[in-house]
Structures are given as C-alpha cells and as structure tokens.
C-alpha cells in the first residue's frame, strides 16, 4: 500500500518535471508580459505598474525623436542611456490610449541602447525611463503629430 503511494508520488513528480521541461523552450521565447502596466490608461498607473513611483530627471538619457512626426503610425525613436548599470529602458507616450509602449531589459553585454518605431495617437510628451541600480531616471520630449497613428 505504502509502496504504491510512493510509486504514485514519484510518478507524479516525474510528470511535473517533464511538463516543466517541455515548457522551458516556450518560456525562452515568451517572457512575462506586464499586463497591468500595459493596460493602464493613465501615466501614473503605468508608472506604478512598472514599479517607477519615483523618477529622477536625467540628461544622461539621450533620446533622438522627431520634433514633428507627420505620420503618427511611424515615429522613429532612438534611446541610449549613459547611466552606468542601466538594466532597462521604458518608452511611454503620455497621451496614447495606453501610455506604456515598450520595455527593454538588457543583460549579458547588451548596450543600453535601442532604436524602434512607435505609433502616436496625437501630439504628446514622449517619456523615456531608464532603470539603474533599482532607481528610475527619466527624460521627456514633446513630439508633434500631424496625423494620428492609432486608428491607422
């Protein structure tokens, strides 16, 4: 009786281990997605969602963005953080329906640099955050949009 129970529990442990092993390659591709922060409709709520309740303005975050973006569907951004030990860069668009646009976490020799293209619904402040040593630093820039890009 006891042997049977033990065998059963060993089998169960083995099944769980197998399932975990099978899930691993999937997890490599699908990291966690911060639903609470991405669903947030207000900047303060999005900042809370990523744990950035306090930010310090910094001129060591270099943001290249157009002054005027004619097409809000394609706004090119280039961000580099010169803050030592930068672990992550966050892109927020204050006036987009959901302000949090992208999170980039760096590891194992990746430079704190990223260039991408985003959508902007209307003229807005673009807010870049850099996380270093558990602290959040921020830089902001107004970008004027001629034609909004969220319904595009």
């Amino acid at each position: 009786m006891e042997t049977k129970t033990m065998r059963r529990s060993v089998l169960r442990a083995f099944t769980v281990a197998m399932a975990a092993a099978m899930l691993r390659p999937l997890q490599l591709l699908a990291g966690p997605w911060n639903k609470a922060a991405f669903d947030a409709r207000a900047v303060a709520e999005a900042l809370k969602g990523i744990g950035a309740t306090a930010t310090e303005d910094s001129d060591r975050i270099v943001l290249k963005a157009p002054e005027i973006a004619e097409n809000g569907a394609i706004v090119p951004l280039e961000v580099a953080s010169e803050i030592p030990g930068t672990q992550a860069i966050y892109i927020l668009v204050d006036k987009n329906p959901q302000p949090l646009t992208a999170v980039f976490e760096f590891a194992n020799g990746a430079e704190a640099f990223v260039a991408t293209r985003i959508k902007m619904n209307e003229s807005s402040r673009v807010r870049i955050l850099a996380k270093a040593g558990g602290k959040f630093y921020a830089t902001m820039r107004e970008v004027k949009v001629t034609i909004g890009g969220c319904g595009a």
Partner: protein, 104 residues
C-alpha cells in the same frame, strides 16, 4: 507567412549591431476595416527575446503601439565572428517566430 522576419548584423570591433524587421500587422484594436467598417481585433507582438551564443541579452515587452512591421535595433558587446544571435517573438494570440544570424 513565408518570411516573418529579417535580420542584419554588423560587427564593429567587439560590438554587434543587430537590426531586425518583423512582418506583423500590430493591430491596435482601434482600426476599422475599410470594407466592413468593423473594428479589427487587437493583434500584436507582446514579447521578444534576443540571445547571444545562447545567453539572453535583450528581453522586450511591447504594446500594440509599436509600429506595424516592427523595426528594432540593439547592440551587444563582447561579440566576435562566428557568434550566433537568435531573436524570437510571441504575439497575443500565441503565434511566434524566430530568426538566427551568425556574426561575420
């Protein structure tokens, strides 16, 4: 989809400059179909991971406000010819793709 992404790498000293272009609609859920007038459901890449010789170098999370056919440029230090860069993504429907490049 025949070719869901493209990758271009350039080695400058020991820094690998990686540029990728993904073919994805990145639907916001706010766009109306031109023919039916119905809202097109949200469909966008949520997570993207890049590895350098098997070690994770970049983990990205995106909203629907990353542009259609996303472009991404990132850089990795400590790279040398022959090293492998792999980039993979997963969208909100669970669709995924990955691409590999060898530095030279």
């Amino acid at each position: 989809m025949a070719d869901p992404m493209k990758i271009r790498t350039q080695l400058k000293g020991d820094v690998a400059d990686v540029k990728i272009l993904l073919f994805h609609p990145m639907e916001t859920g706010l766009r109306k179909d031109g023919v039916t007038g119905e809202l097109v459901p949200m469909h966008f890449i949520q997570t993207l991971t890049a590895t350098h010789n098997g070690r994770t170098v970049l983990e990205a999370q995106w909203s629907q406000a990353v542009s259609k056919n996303p472009f991404l440029n990132f850089r990795v230090r400590g790279a040398k010819p022959g090293d492998k860069i792999i980039v993979g993504w997963v969208d909100n429907r669970g669709d995924k793709a990955s691409i590999e490049a060898t530095l030279n």
